[in-house]
Symmetry: C2
């Protein structure tokens, strides 16, 4: 039998060192067909691919074909949606691992977006007290966000991601060419996190993203590769310096206090997480300007970047009182001031207590009633 070898594309490797473990995020086009070659070194006894119906139709066959020479490969298609991301879904993945006769040396491959990664990663964390898993994120959001940090988990009626575990993947394959099939709206949603990474940590990167925006929206592999890699490296740097979220990691929540409130107030599903975060970044920038940290030129530049990613700069009409109440639930209020992540300049974020009057002015400017 002749084995066709896929030529190696340009791949950027991002090392991540967390919880005393080290793994690599491989970033580049066409990596899916190298999945088997790349996981072979893990010497799994068997492999179970977990995916969702949409991704299964597009990429499951290629994944399984690549993996089969390495070890017996089974698969499980999970009906994945944020609404179905619960303990019962994780239990189904565990059942699938049992049915596939998985053991401690088996490998779970999570092929899909954030929901698949969260559920399958959590199942890998709790099956036999933790088996290895490899992530093949198929959305831009999952490639730049969920690839780093080891957060896995499911929702509970009382809150999102209330049940979960920290479980680092053995490897991440971020194949940028998988994003060609991603709906434009989800590409934009992923770009919200990319813009955020530039804003909170790296002014040069922010400028680079501004320039690349049209090509990123078209999912040009040559533009996506370095951006996915740089975003992962920024997140890995922040998380590596603060694994359990006591300090610096909170900076990754730039725009998220506003974003979470928008998602909650509009009902989950109305706006994508990335869309709410895009708007949240603009509100956080407005807050930063009102606190004299950045100037109005910076604010306009940030709003322009968000708009050019085809994300909403303003989502008007929410009630201010309700928004503040929502955000108080998300954050701790300290004597009439809430703690927010603000920008000290483009490329540097910090936690600050924000007076209620300043917050109110930002909400008014954002079209809140």
């Amino acid at each position: 039998m002749t084995v066709m070898k896929t030529p190696l594309p340009a791949v950027v490797d991002v090392p991540v060192a967390l919880a005393g473990r080290q793994y690599v995020i491989h970033v580049g086009p066409g990596l899916l067909d190298q999945l088997g070659e790349r996981v072979a070194a893990l010497r799994p006894t068997s492999i179970v691919v977990v995916t969702d119906p949409t991704v299964a139709a597009l990429y499951l066959e290629r994944a399984v074909r690549s993996l089969q020479p390495v070890a017996r490969t089974e698969h499980f298609v999970l009906p994945a949606s944020e609404a179905a991301k619960d303990l019962a879904a994780a239990a189904k993945v565990v059942d699938a691992l049992v049915a596939a006769r998985a053991d401690r040396r088996s490998l779970l491959v999570a092929l899909g977006g954030g929901v698949v990664g969260d559920i399958a990663g959590f199942a890998a964390a709790i099956f036999m007290r933790g088996i290895r898993f490899v992530q093949v994120p198929t959305t831009l959001l999952a490639q730049v966000d969920s690839s780093v940090g080891g957060k896995t988990g499911v929702n509970h009626a009382a809150g999102k991601n209330l049940i979960g575990a920290f479980h680092q993947p053995g490897m991440v394959l971020a194949d940028t060419s998988l994003l060609h099939s991603l709906p434009a709206r989800e590409v934009s949603a992923g770009l919200a996190e990319v813009v955020k990474h530039g804003l909170l940590a790296d002014a040069d990167y922010f400028a680079q993203v501004e320039g690349l925006m049209p090509r990123l929206l078209e999912c040009d592999d040559a533009a996506l590769g370095p951006v996915v890699a740089r975003s992962c490296a920024i997140k890995a740097g922040v998380v590596g310096r603060d694994e359990r979220e006591s300090g610096e990691r909170a900076l990754l929540n730039l725009g998220h206090t506003f974003g979470h409130a928008i998602e909650a107030m509009s009902g989950y599903g109305r706006w994508l997480h990335g869309e709410a975060v895009g708007c949240g970044l603009c509100l956080a920038a407005d807050l930063s300007r009102r606190m004299d940290l950045i100037d109005s030129g910076d604010l306009q530049r940030i709003e322009h970047a968000v708009a050019s990613a085809r994300l909403p700069v303003r989502i008007p009409g929410f009630e201010r009182g309700r928004a503040i109440e929502q955000m108080r639930g998300d954050k701790k209020s300290e004597g009439g001031r809430m703690r927010f992540i603000v920008l000290e300049r483009i490329g540097r974020a910090a936690q600050r207590l924000v007076p209620d009057a300043v917050l109110d002015a930002t909400l008014v400017a954002g079209g809140y009633v």
Copy 2:
């Protein structure tokens, strides 16, 4: 208000260092009434005590009374049995944490035997990706075995403890006076692990346990204290040198390959785990003698220790073929030989490949047909 201070009993502290974390097992009589004082340093925002109906009737009120001055204290009584130790039970504990408005800084107190510790510890591991928990083991088995190692988990239809996590407690309070209410049969079952610890790691300790046996069976605090502490220290030493079970930790399975087969063949519940292990220790000793590692004097001494703990030395009548098949499922067979934990002498265990003929002879001698 006058606060009655309980006088400090003689407490032995056993330090455990695992997974980069350090905690202490406090061992001594009367510790339950110091629970609050001792967890105060953890500064929990709130406390949830998880227990079972039997233990609740005996000790819940004392636990809650001690904890209430530290933080708002809620409790949840779990119908705990090995048969009900499943994911649904862990989910109920999570629901109870939600109902008690627990947050990341809350503390879960597992007050009970191994089943409560396993379920509640697992719930603590997955709630908000891990909150702190303190174990107050109320059985001898839980005090000498579950206190060390950080293993938490629940059963799956396909296997015991198939779902779980490694999650180290913040502290363990092994109050030996709680054992006064323990049925005699469960005291004996706990002593099986005590005998095992002496056999695998410390000949002097084994001799000490032989001498103390009548007082241990009567739950004499002055005898139990040093024994619980020494057993915990032995297990902590072994586990600390091999946290993820690649090598030395396997030695803790002395007698367990036989024990698990006995439990499975007789139907779970017929024999307590410790009873099956007691018999398993005798079979492992017989195997060791047939391999010329120990002499028949050692074997008799081991059988006498097991018998004096009121544990079964022989459980005759099982079919050899079925037993071997059962043990093959538990272990990997390597070319007609199975790997067992055997004794090189009293006080030192090792892994060895055992020829099938030797295993067969041991089973015949053990009354297997």
